[in-house]
């Protein structure tokens, strides 16, 4: 199932699913009014003077600014409120992210400093260091990227994943390489070989086993329809850490025409399989 098939399947599902009768607008309005009464009661009970002071500060702070809605939604930062009813972005529905190096929770899943961030940074350095001789790796934020991302808390343990990508150049062409590591405790389960490799980013392709030091590595050497990468491989360590490595001749560009493609991929299929077992990528 690809993106278009899922889109179609969702529509088909909702077309053939009989929905209950429409919800009652009068009841919704009644609930809204009751909530407003409770809101006002809470406001009075919590001290009108304090609330007014907050309100005055909020009005001053936001004077001249529009609501700055994003994607048709609420503002990126909570709107000023004088009540106990939070805006959608307030803490009432907010996920608690892992604590960052400054002792405060992260803003979102991505670590922007600290030990996990540093692991992602080192992963990028190791990825660049593994690029074969004869290929260049441009510098700069557009050409090199790394990210450490909190995935979930499983059995009380924070599970992280790390990704690094780099552009690679040769003879005027530009392609890219990537590595993604899911630390031990991830939810990939036990598959190895092609069963593991074909889980990478949901991309389909022709997968074949390649033996490296007696271990069978699944390598997709020809994608079916997805053109984000040309080849990718995966390896699962005994502790459960999963490493995906990938390479593409063509740099995907969201804006404008992509640069000229590489003539040849940086790695052979065997080399890519071996790269997935690079101990430097075994991020704990």
């Amino acid at each position: 199932m690809n993106e278009d098939e899922l889109r179609a399947a969702l529509r088909t599902t909702m077309t053939v699913t009989a929905a209950p009768p429409s919800m009652n607008a009068a009841a919704a309005l009644s609930r809204g009014r009751r909530a407003q009464v409770r809101q006002r009661a809470a406001w009075i009970g919590s001290g009108g003077a304090t609330a007014l002071a907050i309100f005055a500060v909020a009005i001053t702070a936001t004077a001249g600014r529009g609501p700055a809605l994003v994607a048709g939604g609420p503002p990126a930062s909570p709107m000023p409120t004088v009540t106990g009813i939070p805006a959608p972005t307030a803490t009432g529905t907010k996920t608690v992210w892992p604590t960052g190096p400054d002792g405060s929770p992260q803003e979102d899943r991505t670590a922007r400093a600290g030990a996990q961030y540093d692991k992602g940074k080192k992963l990028l350095e190791d990825l660049v260091g593994a690029v074969p001789a004869g290929f260049g790796v441009p510098d700069g934020p557009d050409a090199r990227y790394h990210q450490a991302q909190f995935e979930d808390t499983i059995h009380g343990k924070d599970i992280w994943s790390f990704m690094a990508t780099a552009q690679v150049t040769k003879d005027g062409g530009t392609g890219h390489v990537a590595v993604e590591v899911h630390a031990a405790g991830n939810t990939f389960g036990v598959p190895t070989g092609c069963a593991l490799t074909t889980q990478f980013w949901g991309m389909d392709g022709h997968c074949r086993p390649v033996t490296v030091n007696g271990v069978q590595i699944g390598v997709v050497d020809r994608p079916t329809t997805d053109d984000r990468f040309d080849q990718w491989a995966a390896y699962r360590y005994s502790d459960g850490t999963v490493v995906f490595v990938a390479q593409g001749k063509t740099l995907m560009s969201a804006l404008g025409t992509p640069p000229k493609s590489l003539t040849d991929l940086p790695y052979t299929v065997d080399e890519l399989a071996a790269l997935s077992m690079n101990p430097a990528f075994h991020v704990a």
């Binding site: 599902t13 609930r31 972005t89 529905t93 979102d108 899943r109």
Partner: protein, 166 residues
Amino acid sequence: MRGNKDEAFAEYFIARSDTMRATAYLLCGDWHRAEDLVQVAFTKLYLAWDRVTRHDSLDGYVRQTLIRSFLDERRLGWWRRVRVTGTLPEPDPISYPPEDRLDLLAALATVPRRQRAVLILRYWEDLSVEQTAAMLGCSVGTVKSQAARGLAALRGRLTLIGIEDA
């Protein structure tokens, strides 16, 4: 003033609540819970009505409230107890195999909640990657990776139950 607000709110509710409920249903697979999510979202909208002055953004406000309520981890225990297909009404008598429809919903229910939210926003609501990132408060890269993993998880589940070829 209140009359105008109430009238506008009711009109908007009539126009959009079914659509929002469908999104909620795909997220949680249960009509009753979907209506709970819609009620929460619209009640918050009523309270915020005067502040949400750009009415063409009402959809975004309600959608984001709904999504974030769904993702609220304090309700996690409730979600895990929900039987995905337990309260489905009878489908219309047309030729689409009902078991495939139920299988898709059941498979969706196995996708981690955040990935599921990305899938629904991207492929049901047809939001762009950037809009989805803004709605979920995460990076564009995170949306891409979560979408890819969600699709992979969904595909894996459908393969297990024989809807997709292995």
